[in-house]
Symmetry: C2
Subunit: 182 residues, 2 copies
């Protein structure tokens, strides 16, 4: 960040009065806007159709060509559930019945918090959206573990395998550290 988006002035990196960490602060005294930066939320879902899991093969970077659950940045004015639904439509044209919140992951080193909802895929009338090369149902034993795009996807699928064996799904939250999350 080099310029203030309010007045166009140059930006300094400093600790504002009464604060305790460095921020991007406008150098123009009359403006002085503080530009806070905060973590972003990624929201998605785990779409299940007769015990099979819907995965999307990424058509975009990062992790182009790897498999993911439908997910993306939460937008202003929407709930995490609406965001999960929207991403599933955009990436897989998937018609879903969204169930309860299933997993949350803190990934502090990349300033992200993930939300995944359990979802029932209502029909097999899905297809790749513009961000997907392919969309496919996977049986549990066929999950492409070595070709998953992100650690949060792997963790959510691991929890699902564990919980579906007992047919008892419980909410989980976890921290993904760099060693796991990279």
């Amino acid at each position: 960040m080099k310029f203030c988006n309010v007045c166009g002035g140059s930006i300094n990196r400093l600790i504002p009065k009464g604060d305790n960490r460095e921020r991007y602060v406008c150098s123009d005294e009359a403006c002085g806007e503080i530009h806070y930066q905060n973590p972003r939320i990624i929201t998605g879902c785990l779409p299940i159709y007769k015990e099979q899991i819907l995965l999307c093969r990424r058509a975009i970077e990062p992790r182009l060509g790897l498999w993911t659950l439908p997910a993306g940045f939460l937008e202003n004015q929407e709930t995490t559930q609406q965001g999960a639904e929207r991403e599933s439509l955009e990436e897989a044209n998937a018609n879903l019945d969204i169930k309860e919140l299933y997993t949350i992951f803190d990934i502090p080193h990349i300033n992200q918090v993930y939300f995944f909802y359990r979802a029932e895929l209502l029909d097999t009338d899905f297809s790749p959206g513009i961000e997907s090369l392919d969309v496919k149902l996977f049986k549990k034993e066929d999950i492409p573990w070595d070709e998953l795009a992100f650690p949060a996807i792997k963790k959510t699928l691991e929890y699902y395998i564990e919980d579906s064996a007992k047919q008892q799904f419980k909410f989980r939250s976890a921290i993904l550290e760099p060693s796991i999350a990279r």
Copy 2:
């Protein structure tokens, strides 16, 4: 937002190619930076000491003078739990043992998502931080229901009252609509 924080160019409001909603986009062709805006996370906790609840009286706007649970914006590079701990220290100098994630609220009309952790207050050696006028333990029957700062605080306290009667605390998530959340 009037100026691009990357190049200082002027900003247009338009739907970028391949996108489906209006963004702030740099008008300088060589730059063209898209400035996304996303919801922010507020993280806090519900500090309990021998069945009493620690509340802070706000020394800052909004809702100056009203009672709140310690909470604030999640910072980059921290987990939601670390943020909850930090806010409790900053607002109440409270020594806590943070337990599990207790409530999550989507508040889409103000682009916020709230997290509250259950926490055990370890001692009564707390005091108002710079953002608090007062910090006090409240018995359940003494909660100042009409002087609570935010709907997410009220909801979390309601859940606590309900769950503590059964001594069984379960994770809850809810959407706070404008009629409730204002």
